[in-house]
């Protein structure tokens, strides 16, 4: 019973994308309601997509090179954000003194949108990799700290009592009780950070770059190539969704004993 139900849901999901493409096709390719130079139909976009896989025109790099460049920066910034942000959030939640020390600074950084760092970063590091990695890092860092902090704070008293009555040290209680408790939220932080990194890198590339998906889209706007813009947007969307799906798989392996 449950299996058949699930099957019909998957069908619905496929349908939603199919209907979207179909309506787009009818409106643009069949009825030609829009001018191809403002909003092309899916046929043109698919054609451009295939050409762009191997062609460097008009922006100096193939689609793969753009993807590679964006991924490289997004991944390094994200990884740094996770590696530094998560332990910091955990330490702030567990150790009062670290919280008191780090919190004021963190509270000041938190409300500044990742993109607002770009002008300063460009002045500091130029428009190369470094400025963008640092910007992405800052966007990924904030959700990692926030979620791991909240995760540790969810530790139940009774679990700590169990640890105490078993004679666990403070550090053992942190590692064996609080950290496992926080894992679902830590993973949420990691996932939000990945989304933020991806959003941030594309936006950063629009402002200052020589390569990358954001750069490709920005260049295409300048020469009136909406087909390339849409190609880029779809690529960004698909890669983002792929990441999210991959992380769901990782979550299933990492987080045990939770009802799904």
């Amino acid at each position: 019973m449950a299996a058949t139900k699930k099957k019909s849901y998957i069908w619905l999901s496929v349908l939603s994308i199919a209907v979207f493409i179909f309506v787009w096709y009818i409106a643009c390719d069949v009825l030609k309601l829009t001018d191809a130079s403002t909003l092309p139909g899916p046929k043109t976009v698919v054609r451009t997509f295939i050409t762009k896989l191997s062609s460097t025109a008009p922006d100096g790099a193939t689609l793969f090179e753009h993807i590679g460049s964006s991924l490289e920066i997004a991944m390094s910034g994200w990884a740094m954000g996770v590696i530094i942000g998560t332990p910091l959030g955990i330490a702030m939640a567990w150790y009062k003194k670290i919280d008191l020390y780090a919190r004021p600074l963190f509270d000041l950084i938190r409300p500044v949108p990742g993109l607002a760092w770009i002008p300063l970063m460009i002045l500091l590091f130029g428009i190369g990799l470094t400025s963008k990695i640092v910007t992405v890092f800052l966007s990924a860092f904030v959700p990692c700290v926030l979620n791991s902090y909240t995760g540790i704070r969810q530790t139940r008293d009774v679990h700590l009592w169990v640890g105490q009555t078993f004679g666990a040290s403070d550090f053992q209680m942190l590692m064996k009780i609080a950290v496992p408790t926080s894992l679902p939220l830590v993973m949420t932080g990691v996932r939000v950070a990945l989304g933020a990194s991806w959003t941030c890198i594309v936006a950063a590339e629009m402002l200052a770059s020589t390569k990358g998906l954001g750069y490709m889209i920005q260049q295409a706007r300048g020469i009136y190539r909406p087909d390339i813009i849409i190609c880029g947007m779809i690529t960004i969307g698909v890669i983002g969704a792929l990441f999210s799906w991959l992380l769901t798989l990782v979550e299933r392996v990492v987080i045990k004993g939770v009802k799904r």
């Binding site: 139940r156 009774v158 679990h159 009592w161 169990v162 640890g163 105490q164 009555t165 078993f166 004679g167 666990a168 053992q172 064996k176 009780i177 496992p180 408790t181 894992l183 987080i255 045990k256 004993g257 939770v258 009802k259």
Partner: protein
Amino acid sequence: MNREMIVCDNVSKTFETSRGNVDVIGNVSLTVHENELLVLFGPGQCGKSTLLNCMSGLETVTSGSVTINGKVIDSPGPDRGVVYQRTALFPWLTVMGNVEYGPKVRGMSKSERREKAQYYINLVGLEGFEDSYPNQLSGGMQQRVGIARAYCNEPDVLFMDEPFGHLDAQTRYLMQEDLIRIWEKEKRTVVFVTNNIEEAIYLADRIAVLTNCPTSVKTEYGISLGRPRNYVDPEFLRLREEISSVVDKAL
């Protein structure tokens, strides 16, 4: 009579709250002997759990003292195991992971603690569920894991804080029966808190009837009925009647 295991000497506990001081325990003196099953019986919210927490070291006493095995208690320790009201299992660990937790924290080798944990898992009747996670188990099974976990650390004293309070009636009877079976096989000093009179008489070697807040020991009953006990035995019913008439009525 066995030697004295737990001695509460004039214990009182006052909580400081924003609305002033609340006296929860007022001068409790109580002795529990080795391998005795003492039931603390009293109306709801009367401070039974707080008294238990003072014995386990999770709360510090305001005045008086708790001594276990001749040692004054001021913090929790591995010589005292606790089974909690609601399941306090670690949801991210399997049954085996939960039961072997205590020995693991103390640094016992894997093969040794596995063997020990397996023994207690079998003892509570959960053989075959070693790799299940708590959310895959029923309430009764979860409390069995809780009992096995407390036992597995091999404490001198076991504290049970209304462990069956949230189970349905049938499961509860079954768990009481099993607890006695387990305890008779692995004798420990047990302090069991309940507000259920049948449960108290079924389990106890001795019942300490507590008064309402601030709680103190109103009277004690030694229960000499043979085990397994029968809930409708005339002596059982007489005790039930007698103790019911003594206990304060809670709101």
